[in-house]
Amino acid sequence: MSESKQQVSRRDFIKKMATGSAAVATTTVSSVALPAEKNKRYAMVIDTRRCVGCQACSVACKTENDVPLGETRNWVEYIEKGEFPNVRRSFLPRLCNHCEDPQCVSVCPTGATYKRKEDGIVVVDSDVCIGCKYCIQACPYGMRFINPKTGTADKCDFCLHRVEKGLVPSCVNTCQGRARIFGDLNDPQSEVSQLVATNATTVLRPEMGTGPMVFYIDADHTDERDAEKQGIYVRIDTHRRQQKRV
């Protein structure tokens, strides 16, 4: 286990948001009904206890978003670990974290990448993007790629074209374990809020300070290097063209 495993309680989280963004009005969990015009803050919770590595999400994402071969908006890492017969394999689905403080946005020279005020989704305007790849370097999660069809930066956009119409993302509705839960973190009644509030959730690479909006329950944060130091066998498969974890 890496030292990065960190628990983000809802309170901390709100504190973070209150300081990080003007959009947040509430400060307590038990706040009353929120004003209707209040901005949303879309987030995803991935309950890895329910993830079986089936990759339905990966394929659903590809078909929904017509992602070219060789590139991925969503992938599922297989983490195989241990010595025979005490071996385990756990699964870590990866997608853009729609960070609260996304570096992909701060480095973008054209403003093509931005975080939407109304719902916190980090998007790329492919009509503006010049394809300089700076954001690709800047994302601490390796979530971005240049779409070979357009030459512009691409990544998970929480299926904006669906979410805008009130539908959950495509990877969410196909998930056979119902491991992916999507919703509005600014609505304390939403399932994501409830899950974040009542579980020991973690985010990936919290030390990057990006404030991810993808929260994991029971994620395996094993890192190959740490394991190697301890003499433990670990193999991480990403099923991507880029075979190593980024």
Binding site: S2, E3, S4, L92, Q103, S106, V107, C108, P109, T110, G111, A112, V128, C129, I130, G131, C132, K133, Y134, I136, Q137, A138, C139, P140, Y141, G142, I146, N147, P148, K149, T150, G151, T152, A153, L204, R205, E207, M208, G209, H221, T222, D223, R225, D226, Q242, Q243, K244, R245, V246
Partner: protein, 316 residues
């Protein structure tokens, strides 16, 4: 292994941009130091050489980086203009503006030296002086920004250090000096009968030596700090301290690009420096030193750009 999203065009761009910016800044400061270029002679000649060289690599490098743009590759050739529709706090945005300004100013600056017989006090004198001031600022700006561009991202631990910008600046200046030296010794007429350069090269050589010395210091700091730390940065530094890029870094950059030229220069500068002897250096040696410095400058960019991309955050 992470993907190399930035390849040779970007590496060349960083190298050429730094080189041009360095040459421009050196040229302008030589000009201004010699009293604003009010006197003819040594300083003015050097300044002229740098001024004429400076825009070329920068324009070339900028052209190269456009080639690397995803949209350009996808056939959307003029999309890069979007860079200049906004200005924001992105190092690349600021950098592009600085770069754009530098190119314009460097052209103006070069223009003031173009005349058949440019000399201090001619009718372009005022413009020359004015643009020289701008050249110093913009040249340092461009050179620095290439480092900031890379250094700004925690996601790239190898790059993520303020020292990198320093390193790039010093290297830019040193390659700037080297290119002027090279230009002078190839095209210049400052060679005596025995094939030795005349003393006017002393200024350049000695400042180059100083710059290299400084660069060695910065490199030392860069490695020391990275080495002393733990975590992602340490792992990232591994690629030059016992990884894929070690040979290229130590032999290519440090030995060929820094140690060898500084040793050669020392050999020729010491007599002048310590014993006030006449500065003499064979032309071949001068060419060798500057070429080595240029190679070193390129390898630095090469190693840094690649190392930054094949390493990343550790842990998940």
């Amino acid at each position: 292994m992470h993907e190399l999203t930035w390849g040779l065009p970007v590496i060349l761009y960083l190298f050429l941009g730094g080189l041009g910016a360095g040459a421009g800044a050196v040229s302008a400061s030589v000009l201004l130091r010699s009293g604003g270029g009010d006197q003819a002679g040594l300083g003015f000649k050097i300044a002229r050489c740098g001024a004429l060289i400076a825009p070329i690599p920068v324009i070339l490098g900028t052209g190269l980086i456009v080639l690397e743009l995803g949209t350009f590759q996808a056939g959307n050739w003029f999309r890069f203009i979007n860079l200049f529709k906004v200005i924001n706090l992105s190092p690349m945005s600021i950098g592009s503006w600085v770069l754009g300004l530098f190119i314009m100013v460097s052209l103006v600056y070069a223009y003031t030296f173009l005349k058949a017989d440019p000399h201090p006090g001619d009718d372009r004198h005022q413009l020359r002086k004015l643009s020289a001031w701008a050249m110093v600022i913009l040249g340092v700006g461009v050179a620095l920004y290439t480092g900031i561009l890379l250094g700004a991202m925690p996601a790239r631990p190898f790059w993520n250090s303020p020292i990198l910008a320093m390193l790039f600046l010093v290297s830019a200046l040193s390659t700037g000096v080297a290119v002027i030296l090279l230009g002078r010794s190839v095209f210049g007429k400052h060679v005596d009968k025995e094939g030795k350069t005349t003393s006017d090269a002393y200024l350049l050589a000695s400042s180059d030596m100083l710059l290299i010395g400084f660069e060695i210091l910065v490199i030392f700091l860069f490695i020391m700090y990275s080495h002393l730390t733990i975590g992602s940065v340490k792992v990232a530094m591994g690629v030059i301290l016992g990884g894929e890029l070690t040979t290229l870094f130590w032999f290519g950059f440090v030995f060929l690009g820094l140690l060898l030229p500084i040793l050669i220069e020392l050999k020729y500068v010491i007599p002048t420096l310590l014993f006030q002897k006449q500065y003499e250096i064979p032309r071949s040696m001068e060419v060798l030193v500057s070429v080595l410095v240029l190679i070193g400058g390129f390898l630095l960019r090469y190693v840094v750009v690649i190392a930054g991309q094949i390493t990343g955050s550790i842990g998940i």
